[in-house]
C-alpha cells in the first residue's frame, strides 16, 4: 500500500511547503498544529514534528494536502523527502493519521477569537478580494482560521497562475493586515500544479 501513495511537494518559500498526497489525509476538515505537544494523538503530525533537524513550527492538514512550516534553513529539496517518508509510513500503517479538530468549548477564548476572525476574513474575501480576482477569472476560498492563521485556497484563474504569489503577498496579505490586523499569517493550501486554466502562464526561459 505504501508504494502506491504518490506525493508531490510544492514549496511556497523556504519556510513553507505543501505536500499533495494522492489519497485523503484528513477528509472533510482542516487541522492545524502549532507545536509538537498539540500533535499527540495524530500519528502523522507526531511523525513530522519528530523529523530530526527540521524544526517544524507549524503543520496544517486539509483533505489531501499537508502544509509544513519549518524553522530549519535547509532547502525543501534537501528535507522534503523526510516529510514524504513520514506521510507514507503513517498512511501506510492504516488507522487515523490525523485526529479531527477538537471542538472548543463555548466561551473558550481562542475559539471566540478565531470564530470572530473567520467572520471578518470571510467578509473581506466576499466583499473585496473575490470581486477583484474575479476579473481574472479567479477566486479565493477561506478554508479556516486557526490560532489567527488564515488558510485559503485559490481557484479558477488564480490556481496555477504565474502571479499567484504576487496576488497573495502583495495583495491579499496587505488587505488582511489592514482590515483584520489580528491575523498572524496566511497559508495557501492550493494545489497549484493542478490548475487547468491559470490566468497568467509562465512561458519564458
Amino acid at each position: 500500500m505504501t508504494a502506491e501513495i504518490r506525493i508531490t511537494a510544492e514549496p511556497i518559500d523556504n519556510q513553507r511547503c505543501k505536500f499533495m498526497v494522492s489519497e485523503p489525509v484528513l477528509a472533510g476538515g482542516v487541522r492545524r498544529f502549532a507545536a509538537a505537544d498539540e500533535a499527540k494523538g495524530s500519528p502523522l503530525a507526531e511523525a513530522i514534528f519528530a523529523i530530526p533537524g527540521l524544526a517544524v513550527s507549524e503543520l496544517i492538514v486539509s483533505g489531501n494536502i499537508v502544509t509544513v512550516v519549518k524553522q530549519s534553513a535547509a532547502p525543501w529539496q534537501a528535507v522534503g523527502k523526510a516529510v514524504g517518508a513520514a506521510i507514507r509510513s503513517t498512511l501506510g500503517a492504516g488507522g487515523q493519521a490525523v485526529a479531527p479538530a477538537r471542538k472548543p468549548a463555548t466561551g473558550e477564548a481562542s475559539a471566540l477569537t478565531d470564530d470572530a476572525l473567520y467572520e471578518q476574513v470571510a467578509r473581506l474575501f466576499d466583499e473585496q478580494v473575490n470581486p477583484m480576482v474575479a476579473r481574472h477569472g479567479g477566486r479565493v476560498e477561506l478554508i479556516d482560521v486557526q490560532d489567527a492563521v488564515v488558510m485559503l485556497r485559490m481557484g479558477g484563474g488564480c490556481q496555477g497562475c504565474g502571479m499567484a504569489d504576487v496576488t497573495l503577498r502583495q495583495g491579499i496579505e496587505g488587505m488582511l493586515a489592514q482590515a483584520v490586523p489580528a491575523v498572524r499569517g496566511i497559508v495557501d493550501i492550493t494545489d497549484h500544479t493542478s490548475g487547468a486554466n491559470p490566468y497568467f502562464q509562465a512561458s519564458k526561459k
Partner: protein
C-alpha cells in the same frame, strides 16, 4: 525598510523565487508587470503597471511613482525587464547598468558588433532581412551556420543549416516563428535575423554577478548533452564544471572581456560559451540571471563556509541592488544539477505519470511539472516552454547527472495529438 522595484513579466517563472527573496531581506516590495493586477487598487504602493516595450516611458512612470513611494533599488528578471531596469536606474540614479549596455545585452546583432570591435572571440556573423531572397542569401554563407532571431529567448527559432538547401528550409521555419504574434510584437527586430558561423565544441554556461564593472563568477555549468543542432533545446546543467581549471579561467576571462565590451557595470549576467582547440568562444551574454526555475540549484554560503544560512541567487541579486551586505558569493561545496525536461512532442497534455517514481530516485530533490493539464506543448524550434524541471544534488557532478537522467526516464507525458 528599503523599497525595491521588482520588474516581473506575467510570463516569468521567477515570481515565487524573487518574491520570497524580498521577504527574506525584509524589503518593501513594489511589483511592476506589463499587465495590471486586479488587486492594484488595494495596495497602490505594492503594484505598478509599466510598458516593458517602452523603457523610457516606463522610467518616466516610475519616476512619478517614486515621488510618493521612494525606491532604493530596481531589478529586472529577464531580457526585456533588464532594459527597463537600466532605464529606471538611470532616471532615478539607482545602482544598475547603463541603458546602452542593457540594450546591447538584449539585441543579438548589436551585441556581436560590440564584441567583435573589442576583439572578444565570437562566431562570424551577418544580419539579414527576412525580406531578402533566401536562395540568394544561401549562396553567400559559409556552412555549417546557425540562423537566429534577434530577440527571442530560450533558443526558440535557433536552427542549424549545413548547406544551402538546409538554409532555405531553416529560413522558412524561422520566418513562420517570427510571424507569430508574440514574436512579431518585437517590431523591427522581427523582420531581421542573424546568420552565424556554427562553432563546434563543448558548451558551458556561466552565471555571474558584476559589481562595479568586475565580474564575479558564481557558477560554471557543464551542458553534457551535445548541442549540435539542428535545434538547440537545453537539457542538463550541472555544476561544478568538469572543465580543467585553466580552461575555466580562460572561459571566465572571455566572459569578463564581453562584460567590459558591452559596458555592463552592475548586476547578474548569464553567459553561454563554447570551447574547442582554438579556445573559448562567447556565444551569448545576457544581463539577467539564469532563466526558468534553474536558479533553484544554486545556493551560496551556508554553515560550511561559516556564513550562517545559505542564500539563494535571487537574494544575492536583490541585496546587491539595494546595497545590502552579501553573506557569500561562494557556491556550496556539493555538486548540483537541473534538467529542463525536454518537450516530449506536440499535443495537449493530458497527464504526467511517474512523478513520484522520479522523485524517489536517489539524489533527486524535486521534480516540478510546470505545464498544466490541457496545455498545448510545442516542440522546438517553434516552442520553447519546457514542461518541467528536475533538480538533483550530490557529491559529484557525474552522479548528479546520472540521477537527473534516471529520474527523467521514469516520467511519461501523456499527450493528445493535435
Amino acid at each position: 525598510m528599503p523599497r525595491l522595484l521588482l520588474l516581473l513579466p506575467t510570463t516569468t517563472y521567477r515570481t515565487a523565487a524573487f518574491v520570497e527573496a524580498a521577504r527574506q531581506i525584509d524589503a518593501e516590495l513594489t511589483v511592476a508587470s506589463e499587465r495590471p493586477s486586479t488587486l492594484e487598487p488595494a495596495n497602490p504602493a505594492g503594484f505598478l503597471t509599466l510598458d516593458f516595450h517602452n523603457p523610457e516611458r516606463a522610467a518616466d512612470d516610475v519616476h512619478v511613482f517614486a515621488r510618493k513611494h521612494p525606491i532604493q533599488g530596481v531589478v529586472g528578471v529577464d531580457d526585456d525587464t533588464a532594459i527597463v531596469a537600466a532605464a529606471v536606474a538611470e532616471r532615478l540614479k539607482l545602482k544598475g547598468n547603463p541603458l546602452h549596455a542593457a540594450v546591447a545585452g538584449r539585441d543579438k546583432h548589436q551585441q556581436r558588433e560590440r564584441l567583435a570591435e573589442a576583439g572578444v572571440p565570437i562566431p562570424r556573423f551577418a544580419r539579414h532581412m527576412l525580406a531578402e531572397d533566401p536562395a540568394e542569401v544561401a549562396k553567400t554563407i559559409h556552412y555549417p551556420c546557425v540562423l537566429k532571431p534577434l530577440r527571442l529567448s530560450a533558443s526558440r527559432g535557433v536552427i542549424r543549416a549545413d548547406n544551402p538547401q538546409g538554409f532555405i528550409r531553416a529560413y522558412g521555419q524561422l520566418k513562420g516563428i517570427l510571424a507569430e504574434p508574440d514574436a512579431a510584437a518585437c517590431g523591427e527586430p522581427a523582420w531581421q535575423f542573424l546568420v552565424e558561423e556554427f562553432i563546434p565544441g563543448y558548451e558551458v554556461a556561466l552565471e555571474g554577478l558584476v559589481v562595479n564593472r568586475r565580474l564575479h563568477v558564481l557558477a560554471v555549468f557543464d551542458k553534457p548533452d551535445p548541442l549540435d543542432g539542428p535545434f538547440f533545446e537545453e537539457t542538463i546543467y550541472v555544476t561544478p564544471s568538469s572543465v580543467p581549471a585553466g580552461l575555466q579561467t580562460a572561459i571566465a576571462d572571455c566572459a569578463e572581456r564581453a562584460v567590459r565590451a558591452l559596458g555592463i557595470s552592475e548586476g547578474p549576467i548569464h553567459a553561454e560559451l563554447r570551447y574547442n582547440e582554438r579556445g573559448p568562444w562567447l556565444i551569448e551574454l545576457a544581463a539577467r540571471p539564469i532563466g526558468g526555475r534553474c536558479s533553484a540549484v544554486l545556493r551560496f554560503g551556508g554553515r560550511e563556509q561559516g556564513a550562517g544560512s545559505s542564500v539563494s541567487l535571487e537574494e544575492i541579486i536583490l541585496r546587491h541592488a539595494l546595497d545590502m551586505p552579501i553573506p557569500s558569493l561562494q557556491r556550496e561545496r556539493q555538486a548540483a544539477g537541473v534538467m529542463m525536461i525536454p518537450i516530449p512532442g506536440a499535443g495537449k497534455l493530458k497527464e504526467v505519470r511517474g512523478v513520484a517514481e522520479a522523485k524517489a530516485v536517489a539524489l533527486v530533490e524535486d521534480v516540478q511539472i510546470t505545464a498544466h493539464p490541457g496545455e498545448h506543448l510545442v516542440p522546438f524550434p517553434y516552442g520553447s516552454r519546457y514542461p518541467g524541471f528536475i533538480f538533483a544534488r550530490g557529491e559529484t557532478a557525474a552522479v548528479v547527472e546520472a540521477a537527473l537522467r534516471d529520474a527523467h526516464r521514469r516520467l511519461m507525458f501523456v499527450l493528445e495529438s493535435s
